[in-house]
Each structure stands twice: as structure tokens, then as C-alpha cells.
């Protein structure tokens, strides 16, 4: 941070603004996939919904809850830090990491389940019960959307681990917790993206 900023408050304001612009930009990375989803769904219609019904709804729903609770814990950690209860904040972030890993674990389980059935992206797709190309396209989109989201979950988890280490080394406290709020904003965005992915890929069959 340059000394361009007279005081800490204006420097933080700049950091928050920069973060929000970055979040907007990051969300638009998914815009292309949402666009393809709406085009293929409008184009294929019925066979597309058939493939969508094949996804395990309970798996998606549990993952949604996992991410929502993890999002809560992030907000809880920020709240505790503001009240100077740093131990509590630390454990909240640990909970977030645990929930994030659970999410990835469930995702991995779902992927292997799909792959064993022969549901693979693009040319590798060879699932006989849903031969229609719409199913192949749906599952390719499914892999791309959830895969890109999973990458963002991994990035979010690394940020959380980094924050945990900073709290433990007393670099974050009630007065200085900008990076905690920024990390929190990023994780909430990852949760919001999944909130939209869940109905599109699991519910609206």
C-alpha cells in the first residue's frame, strides 16, 4: 500500500472498494456458463430436464446447507473479532475450513459416482440410460459450473487458512481486521454463486 493514503481509514475504504470491484469481476466469470445453461435449456427443453433430474438432489441440498452454515461462521468470526473474542473467531474459521472440506468431499463423491456411471464431460460421456445429446451437454455444463465453483472454494479455503494463521500470530484483532473482512466477502460470494447453482443443477428438473 502506497503512502498515497493519508490515514488508515481511507486506505481501508480503497481496499474494500477494490475488493467489491474484484468480486463483481469474479462473478462475471460465471456469467458465460449461466448464459450457455440458459441457451441450452431453452434449446433442448425436455431431454435437458430429464438429465437434470438424474442429479442427486439430497447431495446438492446438503452441500447448500454446508456452504450456508460456513458462510454464517465467517460472519460469526468477523463479529467475534469485533468484540475482541479472538479465540472464538479462530475456531469459527476452523469450522469454515472444515465445512469447506466437507463440501469438496461431497463434491468429489458425487463426481466419482457420476464417473463410475459413465457420466463424464464432453466426448468421454457414455451413459446409456440418457443417450440424448442434451444429457451430454447438461453434464458437461454441470462439470464446468461445479468445477469452476470448486476451484473458487479451494481458493477461499486457502484464504481462510491464511487468516487462521494471522489470527494465531496476533496480526488480526479488534482494531485491525481488514483482511478478515475481505476474506469473508470472498467466501460469501462463493456461497452466493452456489446458491444459484443449486436450483439450476439440482432442483428445477
Amino acid at each position: 500500500m502506497s503512502e498515497a493514503y493519508a490515514d488508515r481509514a481511507s486506505r481501508e475504504h480503497a481496499l474494500y472498494l477494490g475488493m467489491w470491484v474484484f468480486l463483481g469481476s469474479e462473478t462475471l466469470l460465471f456469467a458465460g456458463l449461466f448464459g450457455l445453461y440458459s441457451a441450452y435449456r431453452a434449446g433442448y427443453g425436455q431431454p435437458f430436464d430429464e438429465a437434470l433430474r438424474h442429479n442427486e438432489q439430497w447431495l446438492g441440498s446438503v452441500n447448500t446447507l454446508v456452504l450456508i452454515v460456513s458462510s454464517f461462521f465467517v460472519a460469526w468470526a468477523v463479529h467475534l473479532t469485533r468484540n475482541d473474542r479472538l479465540r472464538g473467531a479462530l475456531w469459527s474459521l476452523v469450522a469454515v475450513v472444515a465445512l469447506g472440506l466437507t463440501f469438496l468431499g461431497l463434491k468429489a463423491f458425487e463426481y466419482t459416482h457420476h464417473l463410475r456411471e459413465g457420466i463424464a464431460p464432453g466426448a468421454l460421456y457414455h451413459y446409456d440410460l440418457l443417450p440424448d445429446p442434451a444429457a451430454r451437454i447438461f453434464f458437461t455444463l454441470y462439470y464446468f459450473m461445479t468445477g469452476l465453483h470448486a476451484l473458487h472454494v479451494v481458493a477461499g479455503l486457502t484464504v481462510m487458512v491464511w487468516l487462521i494463521r494471522r489470527i494465531r500470530r496476533r496480526r488480526i484483532d479488534a482494531h485491525h481486521h481488514t483482511e478478515l473482512e475481505l476474506g469473508g466477502l470472498y467466501w460469501h460470494l462463493v456461497d452466493i454463486v452456489w446458491i444459484f447453482l443449486w436450483p439450476l443443477l439440482y432442483l428445477t428438473g
Binding site: A4, A6, F22, G122, L141
Partner: protein, 541 residues
């Protein structure tokens, strides 16, 4: 004020340049990268023009030709046009123009340069190791089956996109948070508005490009066919994603040039712009409405007629903002005290070429005319009129306009006018024949063509060589001026704009202490009394 060392001499040694966080030095680093890219792209362009001298093989094979026009497109669009003005002059002048010591995130600024350098290296390596022959648009399904190194080039351009986003974020936050005290949104120079609007587009459009190129790269390497008709995909959808980025991208290219032109016109006519808010709001208008019009690239691609109609209307609205700007610039000259020199000659070239290029754009947005003209040389001429006639002319005008401020020396006005004339006329004779080629029906990206098109192609190649000579001449006398140009004061053009109130070349942190400007950046009604430096007078008051 003690004489602070200027940013060239503030620190010594290569390390101080390579690890600099001074926005001016980063601007200079970008300038070097961008100029090299212009050279490489220009060489590709000349080779293309030479090959088209005869209806069939002239110098090399069709495969080489296809790679060359693709590389010309990629290098010019992503390595030159997009960073050309924002990353060089935007970096250099945005902080000074709003009275800041530096950009909001200097380390991020340096990171943006190195990401640009990495992206450029990956792209150029991919071009050397096999190259790409899909056209800069990477249309599926050819980009999926092409034997070129589509995956590597897509990665390179993706990285360049990341650099573009990082610069965009940096400039947006700088403009929001680092304006000097008392400097509202309508007191800052119009160039800052142009860079701000460009950054908004960069931040919002580039991610979609990143995704579509990633999809094409993955599809090419592992065949995960979202656009492969064999696997049920629809290639037209790739065009939707690609043009959702690429139409706003052409506004990323032209808006900064418009910013430069606003500054040049006001300074050299010593007149405030006719209506500051018209130009400022037009920049934002172009930035947002530019996102609504991408469908006019796909009138004959098999898109539904409903979309064709919708995108046709929306495209007409975006032309209005450019028209407002042109009217305002022209009216600003009225009643001014005009000093005519190179930047203003470039403005004259810009005005004619950009207006005719823009209107030919309105012509192809008229859906029935586009049916005949789409993918012909009419389109090539249209976008070169805007890109070369607009952005490159703006880039050259910016180099000449800010040359004294950056180097502290003046360039030779005589050579400037001669080279500007050569560049503008050379450009005109290169691309006006291509409008006629488009009318006659010669498609784009044609290695060999029916004989009846030959005389226009020969004329176009002749024009291209004059343009190339003009560019070489420009490099020549500017290089000479860097070392032997006579020293100029802080404000050789007697401009009111803020960047002329700091010494030339500016000190490392621009201002000894945060500036408080009473005299506005377009306040030409304030008496000048011939004093060399309004800044000095201001400091005294």
C-alpha cells in the same frame, strides 16, 4: 520549492526500474511493451499486404497466410490496442491529473505489468511454436479441430485478460478514492473520465472472454465439446460469448483515444470543452450501452430474427454517444485561440476517419446491409478506420501531446506534421480501397481472390507502405528528440490541465505536498499574462 529530481533520475539502476512501484515508470515499461507489440503486429500487417499483391501465391503458402492474419489480429488486439493508451498514458497521467502521489495499489500496478509481460511471452511463444490459424475470433468448431496451438494461445490471452482486469480495478479505485481535496467528479480532466469508463468495461467484460477462451482451449485439447455439434453443442453460442466481450472490447480500445482527443482539443484551442458533462456522461454511456449490442456481429450467423432486430436497434443507440463527443469537440474549437501543430493534425485525421468509420459501423448495423457486407473487406476497413484511424491516431496524438511532459524535451514540429500527414494519408489509401473491395464482395481472410479484385489490393498495399514509412519516420524523429530535443518548461502548450502544473518530467511522487487547485483544468478564461507556469502563479497565490 526545492527542485525534486524527476522520476527518470530519482532512482538509478535496472533493479529500480524492474521493481518500481512508481506509476510513471510502470507507464513507461508498458509503453515499451506496447510499442514492441505495435512493431510486431505492423510487420505481420505488411506481410499480409505483400501477399495480397497477386490473386494467388505471392510470397508464402495459404497455411502461413492464415497464421499471419491470426497473429496480426491477436497481437494487435490484445497486446497493443487494449493496453495501448490506458496502461501507458492512463498509468502515467491518471494519478497526476487527480492530484495523487500514485495509484491506489502500486504493487498491484507492477503485478499487472508482469502479468501482461507473461501473457505476451506465452502468446508469442505459442505463435513461434506452431502458431494458430483460427483467426483472432477463435470461432468453434474450427478452433476445436484446428491443428494450431489453440490451447497455448488461449492461455496467453487469458493471462493478458487478467492483467487488463488488475489495471481496471486499480484505476477505478484510484479515481474514486485519491482525488485531491476539493476535486469533485466534474472537476477532473476528461481523460480521467475516459480511463475510468474504460476500466469499468475492462473489469466487467474481460472475465467472459477468459471463460470463452478457456472453453475453447479445453475443447481443443480434451474435446469437452460445449460447442461441438457432434456432441450436441451449438457453435453459434460461442459467438455469443465471444462477442459479449469483444464488442465492449472495441470500446476499451476507442474510449481512451477519445479521452486524449478531448485533452488535445481543449489545450490547443485554449478553450473549455463545449459541454464537460456531455463528454463525461457519453463516456459512461458508451461503457454501459456498449454491452447491449454484441448481436450485430451475428446477423448472418444463424441467430433468430428476433435477436437480429433487437440488437439492431440497440446498436443505433450506442452510436449516439460517439456523435455527441464529435459535435462537442468540433464546437470546442469554435471561438478558441488555436495553435496548430502535430497533435491537432492527428485530431483532424481522427475526426474524419473516426466519423466515417463510425458511420460505416452504423451502416453494417443496418441488418439488411450487413447481409451483403458481413465478413467482407468492408468490415475490415470499418474496424481499421476505428482502430487505426481512431485509437492509433489517438495514441500518436498522445505521444506528441505529452512528449514534453514525459521527457522534458520538445520534438521537431516540422517532422511531426510531415509524419502525421504521411500516416493519415497512408492509412486512407490503405483502407479506402478495402471499402470498395467489400462492396465488390471480396470476403475477409482470403489468401487467394478472384482477379477482378487485384487492382484495389495493389492500391491498398501501396497505401500500407506509405503508412509504414510514416510510422518509421515518427519513431526516428521522436527518438532523436529524446536526446537532442530542446528543453521545454513545465507548460509548453500553455494548457490549464493539471498535469501541466507539475514540472516536466514530473518528480517521483508528483507533488511535494497534496495540491490544492483553485484554477480549474479548463479555466481558459483566467488571465494568463504569458506567465510560463500557471502552477507557479497558483502556488504564489
Amino acid at each position: 520549492m526545492t527542485a525534486l529530481p524527476d522520476f527518470w533520475r530519482a532512482d538509478r539502476g535496472l533493479r529500480s526500474w524492474l521493481l518500481t512501484t512508481d506509476h510513471k515508470r510502470i507507464g513507461v515499461l508498458f509503453f515499451i511493451g506496447v510499442s514492441l507489440s505495435l512493431l510486431i503486429g505492423g510487420v505481420f500487417a505488411l506481410l499480409l499486404r505483400l501477399e495480397l499483391l497477386t490473386p494467388d501465391r505471392t510470397l508464402f503458402s495459404a497455411a502461413t497466410y492464415n497464421k499471419l492474419f491470426t497473429h496480426h489480429g491477436i497481437v494487435m488486439v490484445w497486446l497493443f490496442m487494449i493496453p495501448a493508451i490506458p496502461a501507458t498514458f492512463g498509468n502515467f497521467f491518471l494519478p497526476i491529473m487527480i492530484g495523487a502521489k500514485d495509484v491506489a495499489f502500486p504493487k498491484l500496478n507492477l503485478a499487472s505489468f508482469y502479468v501482461y509481460a507473461l501473457g505476451a511471452i506465452v502468446t508469442l511463444v505459442a505463435m513461434i511454436a506452431g502458431g494458430v490459424d483460427t483467426g483472432w475470433t477463435f470461432y468453434a468448431p474450427y478452433s476445436t479441430v484446428s491443428l494450431g496451438r489453440v490451447g497455448l494461445v488461449a492461455t496467453g490471452v487469458f493471462i493478458l485478460g487478467v492483467s487488463s482486469i488488475l489495471s481496471g480495478i486499480n484505476f477505478i479505485v484510484t479515481t474514486h478514492t485519491l482525488r485531491a481535496r476539493g476535486l469533485g467528479w466534474f472537476d477532473i480532466p476528461l481523460f480521467v473520465w475516459a480511463i475510468y469508463a474504460t476500466s469499468i468495461i475492462q473489469v466487467l467484460a474481460t472475465p467472459v472472454l477468459g471463460l470463452s477462451l478457456a472453453l475453447v482451449g479445453v475443447d481443443h485439447v480434451w474435446g469437452l465439446g460445449l460447442f461441438d455439434p457432434e456432441l450436441g453443442g451449438d457453435p453459434v453460442l460461442f459467438q455469443h460469448l465471444f462477442w459479449f466481450y469483444s464488442h465492449p472490447a472495441v470500446y476499451i480500445m476507442i474510449l481512451p483515444a477519445m479521452g486524449v482527443i478531448s485533452e488535445v482539443v481543449s489545450t490547443f484551442s485554449h478553450n473549455p470543452p463545449l459541454s464537460y458533462r456531455a463528454i463525461a456522461y457519453s463516456s459512461l454511456g458508451i461503457a454501459f450501452v456498449g454491452f447491449l449490442t454484441w448481436g450485430h456481429h451475428m446477423f448472418v450467423a444463424g441467430m433468430s430474427t428476433f435477436d437480429a432486430g433487437l440488437f439492431g436497434i440497440l446498436s443505433m443507440f450506442v452510436a449516439i454517444f460517439s456523435a455527441i463527443k464529435v459535435f462537442t469537440w468540433t464546437a470546442t474549437l469554435y471561438g478558441g485561440r488555436i495553435v496548430f501543430n502535430t497533435p491537432l493534425l492527428y485530431f483532424l485525421g481522427f475526426a474524419f476517419l473516426f466519423v466515417f468509420g463510425g458511420m460505416s459501423g452504423v451502416a453494417v448495423a443496418t441488418s439488411s446491409l450487413d447481409v451483403h457486407w458481413h465478413d467482407t473487406y468492408f468490415i475490415v476497413a470499418h474496424f481499421h478506420f476505428i482502430m487505426v484511424g481512431g485509437t492509433l491516431t489517438g495514441f500518436l496524438a498522445a505521444i506528441h501531446y505529452w512528449f514534453p511532459k514525459i521527457t522534458g524535451r520538445g520534438y521537431s514540429e516540422r517532422w511531426g506534421l510531415v509524419s502525421a500527414m504521411m500516416v493519415t494519408l497512408g492509412f486512407f489509401f490503405t483502407f479506402m480501397p478495402q471499402f470498395l473491395l467489400g462492396n465488390a464482395g471480396m470476403p475477409r481472410r482470403y489468401y487467394s481472390y478472384p482477379d477482378r479484385f487485384q487492382w484495389l489490393n495493389v492500391l491498398s498495399t501501396a497505401g500500407a507502405s506509405v503508412l509504414a514509412l510514416g510510422m518509421i519516420l515518427t519513431v526516428g524523429y521522436l527518438a532523436a528528440a529524446i536526446f537532442r530535443g530542446d528543453r521545454t518548461g513545465a507548460n509548453p502548450w500553455r494548457s490549464r490541465c493539471f498535469e501541466w502544473r507539475v514540472p516536466s518530467p514530473p518528480p517521483k511522487h508528483n507533488f511535494a505536498e497534496p495540491p490544492v487547485w483553485q484554477i480549474g483544468c479548463y479555466a481558459y478564461d483566467v488571465e494568463d499574462h504569458g506567465s510560463d507556469d500557471v502552477g507557479a502563479k497558483e502556488a504564489a497565490s
